[in-house]
């Protein structure tokens, strides 16, 4: 795990993730990150991804990807696709399986409301 094959090379050559990548990904993830956090993130992401690279030892050209296991087990295996999940579908019903939350209950955890709607800071910057 901690064997660093290219340890003799300078850090910048074997780095997968750059400072620019960290800034870009933080932006995608709606995170701000302080300067210290960015430096730490750069180090940690590179170390983790270097470890993840061992997946490339495997030839997966003809292997199908698997997003989840529940279409393989506990379903009607004689069927394919969404028919395997027939048990999970139901008729639409007006009230759903439980009544919708009353307005005031749905708002009770909100940081800011006007009693009817959630309130947020202005959306458009001038």
């Amino acid at each position: 795990m901690s064997v660093r094959v290219f340890a003799a090379l300078p850090v910048y050559i074997r780095m997968k993730v750059t400072e620019k990548d960290v800034a870009y990904v933080a932006d995608l993830a709606n995170l701000e990150l302080t300067g210290d956090e960015r430096a730490r993130m750069l180090r940690d992401l590179n170390s983790i991804l270097e470890y993840v690279d061992r997946l490339n030892e495997l030839d997966t050209k003809d292997v199908p990807p698997m997003a989840q296991v529940s279409d393989r087990y506990g379903v009607d295996e004689s069927k394919t696709g969404s028919a395997r999940f027939a048990y999970a579908s139901r008729e639409d019903i007006l009230e759903g399986l439980r009544k919708s939350l009353p307005h005031e209950v749905a708002l009770q955890n909100a940081p800011d409301t006007d009693g009817t709607f959630f309130k947020v800071p202005k959306v458009i910057e001038r």
């Binding site: 795990m1 959306v123 910057e125």
Partner: protein, 476 residues
Amino acid sequence: MQNALTIDAARSAIQQRTTTAKALAETFYAEIEKDDPQIGAYLTLSKDRAFAKAAEIDALAEKGEPLPPLGGVPVGIKDVMVTRGVRTTAGSKILGNYIPPYDCTAVARLEAAGAVVLGKLNCDEFAMGSSTENSAWHPVHNPRDLSRVPGGSSGGSAAAVAADMAVATLGSDTGGSIRQPASFCGVVGLMPTYGRVSRYGLIAFASSLDHIGPLTKTVRDAAIVLRTVAGRDPMDATSAEVLVPDYVAELEKPVRGLKLGVPKEYFGAGLDPDVKNSVEAAIQKLAELGCEIVPVSLPHTKYAIPTYYIVATAEASSNLARFDGVRYGYRASDARTLSEMYRRSRDHGFGAEVKRRIMLGTYALSAGYYDAYYLKAQKVRTLLVRDFEEAFKKVDAIVTPTSPTAAFKLGEKVDDPLAMYLADIFTVTADLAGIPGISVPCGETKENLPIGLQILGKHFDEATILRVAHAYEQSA
């Protein structure tokens, strides 16, 4: 007296009126008040809710009516399961004041079976961690040695059972978070098959990997809790419509003739010698009980951790996008625009490990890296599942150590995320494959730290692993 208190013992003491559910809850709260300042297992106590339920059970007992299966039994719930009217934080500051308006199905089913919910249990933030040191509130100390971690992420759930601060608890397992802490604290921990227990009301971490399951003192108690919470729930489309057997009755079936696989990949370098000796002795014991021990191979095991940390973080980055400071949870007060409000709320609200995983997952899903990381990991997941499918053609269950070491010291791995991830090396494979697994205590190290034996089973065959674990427990 509490040391021996199992579900059946608690229930029958109340049924026979040698105690009451109220007195029992009071005893447990006294225990929590005395011991939890040193351990840190509980985050929130739900006394009103507990005593209301206890009163219901006592009324039944007074009338001489038969109590439900968990009648009056004090339980604790990992703080990633929502509880109506009781603060639920997922171990995170971002949900520091969150009072859920509804109940998690698993909790509702436990209560419907008579359980008294004492409170909510500490865990790594959003269940991300292997030591419970990532809790935003405070760490949990292992009741067996306070200088050591209880494991994670369900560290509070394991410690509460080990320290007699609950008869049974619910935890969640995404990469080993029930079985590894059970092993570290010397209790039983069961992760059911993917889809066996509804996740409705479980605060999502990685949806293709998240499971709810029990931590208990005995295998029989784990069977009782699973029987109570398992089964199709129309509120969770991923809960499977597969018949739930009577796990308790199944425990007594003989284990003689069962074929148990021992995968060589789980006994290589990095395995602590004390753990190895104890697990091998446990396997020998199972052989003496009439099980046939069969060497098997799970050749892709060494790829499980990297696969897991791509799949789990990718799903987490998506699941945790909902925390935006608008409808519930923490909101930064100094933001001038909506976008600034999102960023600052998430930045101040999430801890370091959660941000690390969101960043890793977002990176793995981002344009240009999706194929290299996420798609690659999904393909290797197929290979890991095939490993188990091949092995289960030859055997009825697989036995391994639960963790390569016993509990480590607090602070030992906090600065090295990768070292922390490797604590899950023997447990993540079952989450990726969706198969059930149980950890049952199997001895101690020279330093008197508990060791866990892990038993993995076929999909929806919890009955067999419970039966093997029970037979081992009874013989040990």
